[in-house]
Each structure stands twice: as C-alpha cells, then as structure tokens.
Amino acid sequence: MSDLHAAPAAADDVSWSQWKLIRVKFGSHKLALVSIWLLGAFYLVALFAQFLAPYGTWQPSPYAYAPPTHIHFFFHGKFVGPMVYRTRIESDPETFERHFVVDASRPARIHWFVRGASYRWLGFIPSSLHLFGVEQDAQLNLMGTDILGRDCFSRDLIATQISLTVGLIGVFITFVLGCLIGGASGYYGGVVDNVVQRFVEFVTCLPTVPMWMALGAAIPASWSNLKVYFTITVILALRSWTGLSRQVRSKLLEMREEDYIVAARVAGATDWEIILRHLLPGFASYLIVNLTVEIPRMILGETTLSFFGLGLRPPTVSWGVLLQDAQNLAAISTYPWLMFPACMVVVCVLAFNFLGDGLRDAADPYKE
C-alpha cells in the first residue's frame, strides 16, 4: 500500500517549488525537527513566563538557599492531587547551620490559576494571574531558592525573555548592517569593495571578549535597564555583522555572474527587477541560515557579558545575570540548582545550532 502512495508523490515533485523542496528536505533532518519544536516551546515560555512562574522575580523570603521542593500526590495513602508539605527553618544550636524541616503533617495543595505577584504582561497588560501556586504560608520552589530566598524556577523562566530576545534584536541589527555593507561592497565593487573589505578585516581582528568588556564597561551605571539592554544588543551586533556582510558580498558577486541574471538583462529587465525577482529570492534561504546560526552566538555573548557583570545588571534577570550567583565553587557544590540557567543556555544554543544545521542542508535543494 505504501508503495502505491509513494509513486504519485515522486511524480509530483516536478512541480514542487523551492520552498516545498526545502520543507521536505528539512523534514528529513530529525534533530532539526526536534530543535524547532524545542525552540518553539522556549519562546512560548518566554512569552508567558510571568504567568507560568508561580512567583515574581523580586519576591524575597526567609527561605534562603532552600533546596527544590518535592511534589507529592498522596497524603496518608490517599490520592489528593499535587501538593507540597510546608517546611520550617531550624537552626542547629551548636553549628548555627540552618536546616529545612519538612512538616509532613501540614500539606498544602497546589492550586491552578491563582492570584499572586502582580506583573505587566508584555509590559503593559496588568495582571496577577499565575498558572499554579500554593498558599502564602507554604513554599513551592521547583528549583530551590537563591541567597535572598527568591524562587529560582520563576527567575529562570522570566530570564528567558531577555536572553532569547537579545539574540533576535541583535540579529536584526546584524542583518541590516550586514546586508547594507556587504551589499554595497558586492554591488559597487572596485574601490568601495576594497575599503569595505579592509575595514571588515580590521573589525574581525579585534579580540571579541576584551572589546565587549571595554564597551560594556563604558555603559554608565545610571542608565535604565531598558537602555542597557538595547546597548548590549548593539554591542553584540557591532562585532557580528562582519561575517554576514562577507556572505552577502560573495553571494552577490557569485550570482551576478550567473547566466540567468545575464538572461534577465538580455530580456530587458531593469536592475531593480533583477534584484527583486532573481537576487533576493536566491538570497533569502542563505540569509535565514546565517541568521539562525548567529542567534546562539548572541545568546552566548549576552550570557558572557552579564556573567562578568558588564552586561545586564540586577534587578533585570537574564541567564547571564542568574549565573553570577553561581560564580564560586562553594555555591555550585552546595546549591547546584543555581547552575540550572547554564543548562538552559546549553540546550537552547544546541537547539539553534541543530536548527541551523538542518536549514543549511535544506537551503539549497538543487545542490546535491
């Protein structure tokens, strides 16, 4: 039966467009498919982070460095749904070491759609609704708490907003700079090309991390978080446009000599028509691939800068800012949950790289 269905499909591909060929080829790259779903989930989480998080980013509690809370479903052998036990803090009278004692007699149900810390969704819709939560006197810390007793899970979720969008905005700036500068270089050629390429070489030679650090250190401490955030994206983009501009230039030079461009000129098409009908569609797939590969670099860049304390600063939360808490060995060994943002960085960057890999393979369906 499957053979019968396969035959007409194969005959069909004569009328497949480039995008259909790309989709089919991309579909055969399993890792890339998984990655695209994973990234979709990441961005959904970023979009609804405040709603998904049971607490706000700035809700201190006496429960400093509490380990992750266990969730239970049974109470005295009976199924009662998800719940946690209340804990209390006890000090060891000899060592003054603090212990979290689970009080198994005082369960607290986890409720759905509860009112909690107020926030502004997307920055302007006021709300205080959270997907789940527990009563005020209980603690629900899926990823433990930090030094001020703030819920790490909530902070990790909300940090995705900054960390994932810093890549997108940075890549957009990269895209504009790379296309304009590389396009001018490839289109005009000659002296312009020569000057631009030498400049690109100069920028490429600048050591990345010291340059970031110098620029990051130059950001005045009095600036608002929003301002700092945009400055960071610009700093990241200032370094990364060079690669894209070279790609654009070489692709333009290559395509300019293609016979079908000459054919279009013989046909009488104007430069503008050639750019719109032939060059841009030919370019699009390459640009998308390049941008996909560029996003994780931006994310890593932001994480690095913030980790060194030169990027975003608290109270803004990003993965890099959160990882500042995990800078010393004692913290990592005693409170390993502080390292969780690093896992998210790794998963996210890997997913982007796999996605870029799959797109690269699929981008040019005519080359085998």
């Binding site: 009328s15 016979d259 079908y260 000129r265 013989v266 046909a267 098409a269 569609p281």
Partner: protein
C-alpha cells in the same frame, strides 16, 4: 550586398580587459579579447562564430546584445522600418525597447534558468520586461511558444530542476523566441548537451528558422555542429578573425592554417565531401603564453606549421581572396606549396 540584406553588421568591434586589478597586483597591461572584428549577418540565415575558448567569440555575442559594453566599433542593426541603428552608441535606457528584437540562448541550460521560477515565468520574462502586455495575452503567448519548441502546456507550472538537459534547452529557446525577435544569439547552445540531444536541438533550431525566419548568430567551438547549421562561418583566433567564408568554401578549401587544423580535428560527417585536408605537423611549438598580446606579427605564428620570416614582423590583414571568402594569412593560396 546592400545594408538591408544584412540584419546585422559589425564594424571594427573591439574589447579589452585590464590585467590584474587587485590592490597589490602590479601587473600592467590589457588583454585584447576582441580586436577590430567586422562581419555581416544576412537576414534569415545563420552565421557561425568559431574559435577555441578565449578567442573572444562569447564576448562578441554579449556585446551585440549589449550585456558587455564594447570599447569601440559599431554594431549596426537593421530595423524592420528600414533604418539602421548603431547599438554600440545607445544608452542602456535607449537599448531597452530594442531588447525584444534580439534575444540570446545560453550554453548551460541549467544555470541560465532561475531555479526558483516556474517555466511559465521564465519564458514570460522577456515579455514582462517589455511592459504593457496583458496577463492573459502573456499566458497565451507563453503557451504558444512552449508548444512551438516541443514542450507541453502542463510543463509550464514545473520548475527547471524537473527537466532533462534537452528539455531545459528548449525552455531557453522558448524564452529567446517569445518576443518574436529578428536576431537570436546562440552562445554554445548545444555544447553542454549529449550528442543525441544536440541533434534534436539543432533540428529544432533549424525548423524554427524556417518557420519564423529568425536570424541566428551561432557561437560554437565545434566545427561539426557549425557545419550542420550555419551558412557563413567566421573563424576567430585570439580576438581576430582568421578566416571568413561560406560554409562550403571554408570546409572544402580552408585557406588559413588554423582553420585547416580545426577541420582536421573533426571527423568528416559526410564522407562524400572527401577526407579533410591534413595539415602539416607543427614544426616546433615555441608557443607563447596564452592571452599575451603579441608585440607584432601574426598572432598565430607560434602554432603555425607553415610560418616564415615575414610572419614575425608583419601582421597579416584580413583580405578577400574570393567572393565572400577572406583570410588573414600572408600565404593563403600557396599554403600547400611551402
């Protein structure tokens, strides 16, 4: 021969390219890709331009359709309204309305078709560039030309990658013919095809010429192909015309040693024409580096088996030795006797 019998007359066409060009490239000088080439193409017939790679034949073809700017010379195109236009003197904007009257067929049938466009859009592109063609008319005209070149209507919604080499070249021919041009420059139109497919495409081109009265400028490196299709043939060597003659004269009695060696390299397709004249083996190959502009003398002398003292000093001019037969050699008639 009046101007009007000739659709196209090329006079003293030249094109040079600068050597080097890199920032630190110290090489000086220029390469004369095309050097004072003149010829005429009769309306409704096929003119062949033959030469090895680097002989300037493609550059000539591209200058005529004005994709490459000529340095000097005139390209006289006889319009249907009995006035002659010098294409070389036109600006790009003035050239646009004339584009529909001259089109081009390319060597590589795949790279000359945009892989992202359907066949209908590819073939329709020259019409769309003309402007003022209604979408319905465009669709009809495209379908008409598609059937003319032996493709079917249902091919129109497919993409170039779905076709064989021969079919792709038919698409290229359909694109060249869609505006109803008077002149078609076929640049190595069959060189990239299998031999069996070459014959089909050549037959198609010949049939279309009979049906539509189109004039071909046929550029090739293969004398066998040229023999099949062309009426008049010009042999190019390093940007200069070595010999120009009616096809029969050229193949029967080549007067230039270079033509002779080219013909000898082709197996005779029609044995009744007798074996090709066998040239003398090159005496000694003190071949000058390719593309280096010769200081003086005959450009072919380094490879010529018949070369004499005079060849090193004096460049032979192209001169008529019979009606319609010109050759650029000091010894055309006495060739065999030397």
């Amino acid at each position: 021969m009046t101007e009007q019998r000739n659709l196209l007359t090329v006079r003293d066409l030249s094109k040079s390219y600068r050597l080097g060009g890199g920032f630190f490239d110290a090489r000086e000088g220029t390469v004369r890709a095309v050097d004072r080439v003149s010829f005429s193409v009769e309306r409704g017939r096929t003119f062949g331009l033959v030469g090895e790679s680097g002989s300037g034949k493609t550059t000539i073809g591209r200058m005529i359709v004005r994709v490459v700017e000529p340095d000097q010379g005139a390209i006289l195109f006889a319009g249907a309204a009995s006035q002659t236009i010098d294409l070389a003197a036109l600006t790009a904007r003035q050239m646009r309305p004339l584009r529909r009257r001259m089109q081009m067929i390319f060597q590589d049938p795949l790279s000359s078709l945009d892989p992202r466009m359907t066949v209908a859009r590819i073939i329709g592109e020259p019409l769309r560039a003309v402007h003022g063609v209604a979408p319905g008319d465009l669709r009809d005209r495209v379908a008409e030309v598609t059937e003319l070149v032996g493709l079917r209507r249902e091919h129109l919604d497919r993409y170039p990658h779905a076709f064989s080499g021969g079919q792709r070249q038919r698409i290229g021919i359909a694109r060249a013919l869609v505006t109803g041009p008077e002149l078609v420059v076929a640049d190595e139109a069959v060189s990239a095809l299998d031999v069996s497919v070459q014959a089909q495409v050549l037959n198609l081109m010949r049939d279309l010429q009979q049906k539509l009265g189109v004039t071909y400028l046929f550029i090739a490196h293969d004398l066998g192909v040229v023999r099949y299709l062309c009426d008049t043939v010009a042999v190019l060597y390093r940007g200069r015309i070595a010999e120009i003659a009616e096809k029969r004269d050229l193949y029967r009695t080549p007067r230039h040693p270079y033509t002779e060696s080219l013909i000898a390299a082709v197996p005779p397709p029609e044995p009744e024409d007798g074996p090709a004249p066998q040239p003398r083996e090159p005496a000694a190959l003190d071949q000058a580096p390719d593309h280096e502009a010769p200081a003086a003398g005959c450009p072919y002398r380094a490879r010529c088996p018949y070369r004499q003292e005079i060849c090193a000093h004096q460049e032979p001019a192209l001169r008529a030795i019979a009606p319609g037969h010109s050759v650029a050699c000091h010894f055309d008639l006495q060739l065999k006797g030397i």
